[in-house]
Structure formats: structure tokens, C-alpha cells
């Protein structure tokens, strides 16, 4: 049960991080959303054996984390949460694909391992970019940016309400589990026969609660559009942020920087 309370704390922590006032936080949400978009496209566009090409992409999250004053461990823990999923997808690559790819005097690495590692790196980088976007911008401002690029209102509303519903859901799960555990001292989990009724209860209670939240929103003039206020104009620095990073990502995409630096060093060595 403490894990559930912890999850709620975790979700809210991202919202709190988004309220900071660093250089990165002050960049226009649209510039950050679009930069993240380009980053994600470039990251996933690498082929499955192009592991070395992915390495320079790590500089983007490192620089953002440093400038936005985001606690590394907090973000790292959340990224690790998605790693089992990626490992689950790619775990059979090394077994199925055993063709030797990198042959060194002391070790031979198969193409399966390279593709698995490249999948893992891509997964971690994309999850990191998404988390950094949320923790430096905040959900409501992301919604504002999406609205500026003509994403339909209905999708944005779904996105925002789903995000809010998560905390409502977790709160109710916490309450139900607390009530259950207090009356079943010898049980470690929830008995299978009770799963159905507990899930049903959870659904009804969260719907009720979500409806009350919605009513309170309607009573304050909510008509299907979140107005976050403080609409900032796009400044030159925002344009520079987006274009600077985009050029960097495209250079990485078309030139294998790691390989170039490697051959340069070998050349110097010779």
C-alpha cells in the first residue's frame, strides 16, 4: 500500500519540478514540445545495428537535466520503470540472431546483442526525453503547446483529464487497499475471490469522484478548454533553442560523430 502512496507522490513530484524557474523552464512550451518531437523521431529513426550513432544523442538529456536542475536519481528511477518492457521486447534478439558482428581479439559480439542494446538505448533515451519534457514544462503548458499546433481540442482534453484521472485512481486504490488490509491481517495480497468486487468498487468510486471534480470545473465556467493563462509570446531564444537542437540532432543523424571522432583519434595515434 505504501507503494501506491509513493506512486501518487511520484506523479505529483513531476508537477512540482515543472514549477521551477530555470533557463529551460522559461523556454516556450512549444519550442520544448517540438524539440522533443524531433529528438524522438531522430532517435527511433536509427537502424537496429547503428548503436554508435545513438551515443551523441545522450548529450541532450544530460544538458537539459543540468540546466533545468532536475534531480538525476529521481528521473533515473522513472526511466528504469520502463526498462523491463524494453528488455521484454528485445530479450530474444541475442538468442535468435547469433551472427558475429563485432569481432575483437578477445570477444565476439553477435548482431543480436547489438540490436538488443540499440533497442535498450533508444527506449531509455525516448523515455528520458518524455519525462524531461513533463518535468520542465508541466502538463497544462504541454497542452497549450499542442493547441498551438492545431491538435484537436478533444484530444487535448482527453490527454489532460486522463492525466488528472491517474491521481484520482491512485488515491482511491490507496483507500480501498488500506480498508482491505486492516480487515485481513494475515493476507499478504488480495484474495483472488475479492478481485472482482474490489475492481468494480474502484471503477464506481473513481467515476463518482471524477464526476464530482468535473462538476466543480463546470461550476467555474469550464467549457471544454483549459485556459492556462500567462500566454507567452515566442521569442528569439525559443526559436534558437528549437533550431539549435534540431540542427544538432540532424547532424547526428546524417554523420556518425562517434565514428568520426574514433577514426580521427586513430589517425592522430598513427
Amino acid at each position: 500500500m505504501s507503494n501506491i502512496t509513493q506512486s501518487l507522490y511520484n506523479i505529483r513530484l513531476l508537477d512540482e519540478l515543472a514549477e521551477k524557474k530555470t533557463v529551460i523552464h522559461k523556454i516556450h512550451p512549444l519550442a520544448k514540445v517540438m524539440t522533443t518531437g524531433v529528438y524522438l523521431i531522430v532517435t527511433v529513426s536509427f537502424g537496429r545495428y547503428e548503436l554508435s550513432g545513438l551515443i551523441p544523442l545522450i548529450f541532450y538529456p544530460i544538458i537539459v537535466i543540468a540546466l533545468a536542475d532536475i534531480p538525476v536519481i529521481t528521473i533515473a528511477k522513472r526511466v528504469l520503470l520502463v526498462s523491463p518492457l524494453i528488455i521484454g521486447i528485445g530479450v530474444f534478439n541475442p538468442i535468435i540472431n547469433q551472427d558475429p558482428m563485432i569481432i575483437m581479439p578477445w570477444i565476439v559480439i553477435s548482431s543480436g546483442w547489438v540490436s538488443f542494446l540499440s533497442l535498450l538505448v533508444k527506449g531509455i533515451l525516448t523515455a528520458l526525453a518524455a519525462l524531461l519534457l513533463i518535468s520542465t514544462t508541466g502538463i497544462t503548458k504541454i497542452a497549450l503547446a499542442l493547441r498551438m499546433i492545431w491538435v484537436p481540442k478533444i484530444f487535448i482534453l482527453q490527454f489532460l483529464l486522463t492525466y488528472r484521472y491517474i491521481s484520482v485512481l491512485i488515491e482511491e486504490v490507496g483507500r480501498i487497499l488500506r480498508a482491505y488490509s486492516l480487515r485481513s491481517p494475515r493476507e499478504k495480497g488480495i484474495r483472488f475471490s475479492n478481485w472482482g468486487s474490489l475492481t468494480g468498487q474502484l471503477l464506481i468510486r473513481t467515476l463518482d469522484r471524477a464526476q464530482r471534480v468535473y462538476y466543480s470545473m463546470c461550476c467555474r465556467g469550464f467549457k471544454g478548454e483549459y485556459n492556462v493563462g500567462r500566454e507567452l509570446g515566442i521569442q528569439f531564444k525559443d526559436f534558437l533553442y528549437f533550431s539549435g537542437w534540431s540542427v544538432y540532432f540532424l547532424i547526428i543523424r546524417y554523420f556518425n560523430i562517434s565514428e568520426l571522432i574514433g577514426s580521427l583519434m586513430i589517425g592522430v595515434g598513427k
Binding site: R12, V213, Y215, C218, R220, G221, F222, V228
Partner: protein, 252 residues
């Protein structure tokens, strides 16, 4: 014509499960009145309040705010004029900071950001929690949450304040602070509560609901000291009006 008048005529409402929550409610609340609505659990208090702000619509009868009937078309006008404070402040606070939560209503009415800022400052200042404006709402105490919930409504500058059990789950000090705050408001106030002493202190008029009908309507003093009526409606005479448990002296 007054926009602060609330008129309920022959209001009937049945929930989809067949429960008749309101069964012909009539009353007229005029400008500046402070009215307590009391009744046992399930008497129809919250259902009645939801009709006043157009969350529910009557099966029969009508609700008028000023001279405007509460219908789907008139909701924007009604909700600007009638502000509702929910029973659980957690239902009302959903943004990431207190400031954004209080600004939510004014922003929905497309007010310029300078005006929004002014209203937020004023509302938070009125309820005495201006220092909390940068805090996340879920980190506040029960009393602070309630104060912010009231500020979210005040920022809309309503003519009528509707409150559902405002003192529930408050510690005695927070309760006293809230009562003093509400005493200072000049709005028309409609308050449902089981806190009979609060109703006694705040409201000059009381409506008693029983089984979805008005069982009594009149000056608070007369209604609340009527022991027979109170017991019949599963209520109790306020402690202030009961005999002192130590010396036995009666306040009435």
C-alpha cells in the same frame, strides 16, 4: 429585479435508480439573506444545491436565479452568479498550484490576465491564505484547503454563495475561523450543514428538509429551538441552545 434572488417552485427530482430525492420543494430566498438548509442524511440537501447551479435539472418544477430560469442555455450566466463550494475541497482543487486553481474560473471567462491576477490576489487575501498561492493544493491542511476552495469561488465574484457542509472535517479552530470569515461576507448565502451551531450563528433563516420536502421554513431561532421538530427530522437542538451540562442553566 434582483439577480441575487433564488426561487424554487415545485421542485421534484428522481434519481435513475428510482429514489425520489426531492418531492415538491418551494422557497424564495431574497437578496442578502443567509439561509441554512438542514436535514437528516438523504433528506435531499445536496441534491437541492446541485439544482441551484445547474448540475442537475428538475423532473418537475423550476429554479430561477434572479429572473433567469436555470436551464442548459442559461448555465454560463447562472454559474457566474451562483458560486458553489463543494463538500470535499479535494473535488474542487485539481490544478498544480493554489494560484492556478483560483485563477481557473476567471480564466474560463476569458478575463485579461491582469484582471485574473487581481482577482486571485483579492480572493486569497479575503480568506487569509495569500501566502499559500505558490503551494500545491494537495499539500495543504484541511482548513487551508477549505479556505482555498472558497477563494476559487470568490474569484468568480458571485452574487450568491452556495456551500455544502462547509465545516465538515474541520478542527475547532479552523471551523471558528471559517464562521468568522463567512460572517463577514455580504453575499446571499445558502449553507447546508449538520453543524447546527454553525447554522445558528450564521443564518437568520433555516429551511428543514425531510424526505425531499420542506418540513419547516422560518427564522433560525424559532426552528432550531423546536425540539419536537428537530427530533422528528432526525436533528438536534444546537448545543448553544441546550441546557448547560454542568449547572443545568438553559440558554433559551
Amino acid at each position: 429585479m434582483s439577480h441575487h434572488k433564488i426561487e424554487v417552485n415545485g421542485l421534484k427530482y428522481q434519481y435513475t435508480d428510482g429514489r425520489q430525492a426531492l418531492n415538491g420543494v418551494n422557497f424564495l430566498i431574497t437578496h442578502g439573506q443567509s439561509v441554512g438548509i438542514v436535514g437528516a442524511n438523504g433528506a435531499g440537501k445536496s441534491t437541492l444545491l446541485m439544482h441551484l447551479v445547474g448540475i442537475l435539472f428538475p423532473n418537475e418544477g423550476e429554479v430561477n436565479v434572479g429572473d433567469v430560469p436555470v436551464t442548459k442555455k442559461t448555465l454560463p450566466v447562472i454559474r457566474q452568479s451562483v458560486g458553489m463550494v463543494f463538500q470535499n475541497p479535494d473535488d474542487q482543487l485539481f490544478m498544480t498550484t493554489v494560484y492556478d486553481d483560483v485563477a481557473f474560473g476567471p480564466r474560463n471567462y476569458q478575463l485579461p490576465e491582469e484582471e485574473v491576477q487581481k482577482r486571485v490576489q483579492e480572493a486569497l487575501d479575503t480568506v487569509g491564505v495569500l501566502h499559500l498561492k505558490g503551494r500545491p493544493p494537495y499539500k495543504l491542511s484541511g482548513g487551508e484547503k477549505r479556505a482555498v476552495a472558497i477563494a476559487t469561488v470568490l474569484a468568480m465574484k458571485p452574487d450568491v454563495l452556495v456551500m455544502d457542509e462547509p465545516t465538515s472535517a474541520l478542527d475547532p479552530k479552523s471551523r471558528r475561523r471559517l464562521i468568522k470569515l463567512l460572517q463577514g461576507f455580504t453575499h446571499t448565502k445558502i449553507i447546508t450543514s449538520h453543524d447546527m451551531d454553525m447554522v445558528f450563528e450564521l443564518c437568520e433563516r433555516t429551511i428543514v428538509l425531510k424526505d425531499g420536502k420542506v418540513a419547516a421554513d422560518g427564522p433560525t431561532m424559532e426552528i432550531l429551538k423546536n425540539r419536537e421538530l428537530m427530533e422528528e427530522c432526525s436533528l438536534e437542538v444546537p448545543l448553544t441552545l441546550q441546557a448547560c451540562p454542568v449547572c443545568g442553566r438553559n440558554n433559551i
